[in-house]
Amino acid sequence: MSGGQRIGIVVGGSLNKALEVRLEPGAAAGLGQYVMTPLGDGASLVGMVTDVLLKSAESGPTACPPPLGDGHAAELLRAVLQDTAVYTQLEVNPYLEVRTSGENSRARRLPVHFAPVALADQAVLDSAFAVSDEAPAFRLGAPLGMDDVMVHVDLERLCERSAGIFGKSGTGKTVLALQVLDAIVANATAAPTNRDRTVALIFDMHNDYGWGLKFQGEGGGERRSLKQRHPSQVAVYTLEDNVPHTDGRVLIGTRDITTEDLGVLAGTADFTRQAVEAAYELENRLGKDWVDEIMADDPSPAAVRKIWRDGDEPDEINWARAASKVGYASGSVDNLRRGLRKIVRRDFVRPGHDQFSGIINGIVQTLQGGKSVVIQFGRHGSDLTSYMLVANMLSRRIWDSYRDVMERAQGEAAKEPNRLVIVIEEAHKFVDKTLAGQTIFGQIARELRKYNVTLLIIDQRPSQIDTEVLSQVGTKFCLQLDSDADIEALVGGMPGRAGLRSVIASLESKRQALVFGHALPMPVVVQPPELTANFAPGASLRARLGGSNGAGKAPTPAGLFG
């Protein structure tokens, strides 16, 4: 592999840290760009530029620098010292050994001193990121500085483990997520059977993934979202009444709410730990009507019989005495009642009814029938309590259903359900360090593909996510992040993480992402395709009969997306 434009030579380095490359005069390379250098047996080592350093061969020129000004002597001094006494050095994280045979492997060798280093060319990147013609491939975008090259990700690999899209507000998380989901739905459309279809269950906080996306990018306006793009492959449910372009409404009866559903709300609905524990006890005693019973001003006769089981109820009966009877302080039950009151005040919660199972069955049948489902929160999207309650309740029950089907299948592939990707926004609220054990999402992330259910996490504070959960996120799409803690949370444990940190810190504020992890052979900084008004349905998915490996022969992003 001859490589592209030569930019320098290897002058040092290590596999664990970085390769040191001295730039040749006039050559340039930026953070995130790929370079390659021969290994001597026909293989090439491919790595990513993770730092650019200004170095001095001796201390003299920097201790006594040439004078400023445009005099001949000063100009000559500066020109002479450049690339002799002072020079530019790259740090390159070595990632991949690329062979012409296509048998690539992780970098385990280093080139010799003074080996030439060139910018990686299209042929090398085609080989590095090759995705089989038979496999569905997500069009990730153009690597930094290589606008004519398109990098693809094997969609099956992307979905077989949990994935995450991280970035601060306004960096393009939603657009990127929409493109991933567009590829998932388009791929499901092409799959021959329901079982082969990977579907998504999307908890759509801000009504972005259903009918239309309020586009924040250049030109603004609205972009067609999943339901408009794939009307027969996507069902939209909403928490609101009379919303156009939807297929059903999610209603929760008070009889549907279990104590397990409340644990996740400790932060948002102000439930204390004691209140949640008291709820367990009261649910145990009062049965399915426990929420309606607790919401009454005083315990009903039925509740009295269930709480004072041995008939020793006092003359004056109130919730303080009931709390005392079940072993908790009255303050805990007051806290529980206050929190529940906030919940049942929402118009999608219906007192005294059992609404949920029909909706759950409908959604599960839709998902297992090969369609994706979007749960739109509408005006409730800004209400984190509603979002967390519904997402947790639905996911828990759908997860139970998938687990039951998987266990019944007993390893018989034909009976297993199709793969489900659950998409949650503001994920750190669900899987933070205190709640990861209480929400279903922590469990899904940990148990991975055991039950054919994975997560697509969309979040701006990865440092708040439980480390165990984060470690199970296979593929990470990292847009611009400012906080050191957030960046460290994503790259911690990665080889060459110091370099990746600086790459993330240098990302543009929009449409630039570092993508790395399970689905990719090495990290890549890409510019995802622009979401233009004429972004065609399924455009995020490479055509299966596209070319030899797709990357080289695929149209450019500009060509496809205008």
């Binding site: 061969a57 001796e58 003299g60 020129p61 201790a63 006594c64 040439p66 005099g71 001949h72 002597a73 000559l76 001094l77 020109a79 002479v80 010292l81 690339d83 002799t84 006494a85």
Partner: protein, 195 residues
């Protein structure tokens, strides 16, 4: 007055001295590249020193001439005087050309005594000085101070015409590599180049 051709009077592989037949008012310039094209190889060197004085050091030149007379007028008035004087030039070897090969290195043998010393042609200068490698011999020679090296770069750059600036930077970079431990000297030389 026509210039005579100086000839080699003392020679070693590192340097040689050539002398004009008599006092020469327009000898080679400091830093100029000169060549001795006799023997197996053409030896190229840089003029490191030029001195004029009495041919017999035991008979020093006494001041003479009337007030208001220039040196040339005094010399013209006493034609025999020029025969008693001599101009000598010290040259530091900086390369040699052997057939097609030009090497910025010490010549294998010194130039022949009484060999004619002439100005190097532009082609010879470009071949020897082109990459700046000849500077290594100048930097290493005790006969070359900063002014000589700066003059050598200035003089050789004239052979590059429109690329003179580019050549100056190339030679400067070579010098920077040679003097990486002595930035003060590098600065001093480059200031001399930029004059």
């Amino acid at each position: 007055m026509t210039s005579s051709t100086p000839r080699v009077t003392e020679a070693s592989v590192r340097s040689f001295v050539c002398a004009y037949e008599r006092y020469e008012e327009a000898p080679f310039a400091l830093g100029q590249l000169v060549a001795v094209r006799e023997g197996a190889a053409t030896i190229v060197g840089v003029v490191a020193e030029i001195e004029s004085g009495p041919d017999d050091p035991t008979r020093p030149l006494q001041p003479r001439g009337e007030p208001g007379q220039s040196g040339a007028e005094v010399m013209a008035g006493e034609p025999g005087l020029r025969e008693l004087l001599r101009t000598r030039v010290t040259v530091v070897s900086c390369g040699y050309i052997e057939g097609e090969a030009a090497r910025a290195a010490l010549p294998p043998t010194p130039p022949p005594l009484l060999g004619a010393v002439e100005a190097a042609t532009h082609a010879e200068t470009i071949r020897i000085a082109g990459e700046g490698a000849f500077l290594a011999l100048l930097v290493a020679s005790p006969l070359c101070d900063d002014a000589v090296i700066a003059a050598a770069i200035r003089a050789s750059s004239r052979s590059f015409d429109l690329r003179a600036g580019e050549y100056t930077v190339t030679a400067g970079k070579e010098l920077a590599r040679l003097l990486r431990a002595d930035p003060a000297r590098l600065t001093s030389i480059l200031r001399g180049v930029a004059l």
